[in-house]
């Protein structure tokens, strides 16, 4: 046993003597906690791009993709209680789904081992999207965005750069009925053909829309766990392209 394995073994809770089968564990239905299996190995690079590593960061190599083993039937929402989900929404994750979670949860999950496999418990509101077959289903009201690149000529060279506060809607799921966090003052706007700004409901948001994000939350400056952040670290990306993630109230208007 290596030193790393020994240290890990002291952190992980071994369930071998506690249960016969992993499905024997009973979840508290109102705690919004899911049992997931670790499927991502971030000790190896799976992206074919060669990157110059300037500094190592835990966030870049955190395991953020898991397989759902057990999930509660409903999502509990009551802001008076700490176990409340951050968003009033429905349970949209099924057993067997691959889920992508946010960074802070991935660094703070409880870890268990059972019959040689590693499991984690995660909160439902940490899940950004679920992958079911080839489908990507954003959950918790998240919107998946793809950055927009613009090219300009510098001398004889063509330089491409990401537009800082615009993006294209790639995937949208169902909207949240209510938010635990207050997003007041961030109303959604739409620019109509006469270039006047009109109110719109986020029901009007469609895949392919070009959206303008709050300029203080620009994509190029996005860091893990900021209000708009990359779904995956580039070194361990499994999806076809880089996606950014935000909640609907972060969108200022549709272009």
């Amino acid at each position: 046993m290596s030193a790393r394995e020994f240290r890990q073994s002291r952190l992980e809770y071994n369930l071998d003597n506690e249960i016969e089968d992993i499905h024997d564990l009973k979840l508290i239905q109102t705690n919004n906690i899911l049992l997931v299996e670790r499927i991502q190995d971030t000790s190896t690079y799976i992206n074919s791009n060669i990157e110059v590593v300037k500094e190592w960061s835990a966030g870049e190599h955190a395991e953020r993709i898991f397989k759902v083993v057990k999930a509660p039937k409903t999502v509990f929402f009551d802001p008076r209680y700490p176990n409340s989900n951050a968003y009033a929404t429905d349970m949209e994750v099924k057993e067997g789904d691959t889920v992508f979670i946010n960074l802070s949860e991935s660094l703070n999950t409880f870890v268990y081992t059972f019959k040689g496999k590693t499991y984690h418990t995660i909160r439902y509101d940490s899940i950004v999207c679920a992958k079911r077959g080839d489908d990507i289903v954003p959950v918790n009201g998240y919107v998946l965005l793809t950055p927009i690149e613009k090219s300009r000529k510098v001398l004889e060279y063509e330089v491409k750069s990401v537009v800082p506060n615009e993006a294209k809607v790639a995937y949208i799921g169902s909207r949240n009925r209510e938010y635990k966090r207050n997003y007041r003052g961030r109303s959604l706007k739409k620019v109509d053909s006469q270039r006047t700004i009109v109110d719109f409901s986020d029901k009007d948001l469609h895949v392919g829309d070009i959206v303008v994000l709050n300029s203080t939350l620009a994509l190029t400056g996005a860091e893990q766990d900021a209000a708009i952040w990359p779904l995956e670290a580039s070194a361990h990306r499994v999806l076809d392209k880089p996606y950014f993630v935000c909640q609907r109230p972060r969108i200022v208007f549709i272009r």
Binding site: R10, L11, E12, Y13, E18, I19, D24, L25, K26, L27, I28, Q29, T30, N31, I33, L35, F76, D78, R80, Y81, P82, N83, F110, Y112, T121
Partner: protein, 84 residues
């Protein structure tokens, strides 16, 4: 004693682990964030939800949550991770 809301009184179960070589690793030497306990008493539930755990259940809970109460611990149902 009548517990209010979703509070749960639990008795932590402390188990020593013996390695293959015979070394005893006490619970205090482990960094587990998860503890095992037996439910002694439960409250009646929150305003919008009931209690899932009942007296006598063995549970896994967030070891850093709650406050000590004699040899027992007073936690909330939201600190419980699994019922075994």
């Amino acid at each position: 004693m009548r517990l209010l809301d979703d509070r749960v009184l639990v008795k932590p179960i402390i188990e020593e682990e013996v390695t293959k070589g015979g070394i005893i690793i006490p619970d205090s030497a482990k960094n587990h964030q998860v503890g095992k306990a037996e439910v002694i008493e439960t409250g009646s539930g929150g305003k919008s939800f009931g209690m899932t755990v009942s007296n006598g259940d063995t549970i896994l809970y967030n070891k850093h949550a709650g406050e000590p109460w004699d040899d027992n611990k007073l936690i909330r149902q939201s600190d419980i991770i699994f019922i075994l």
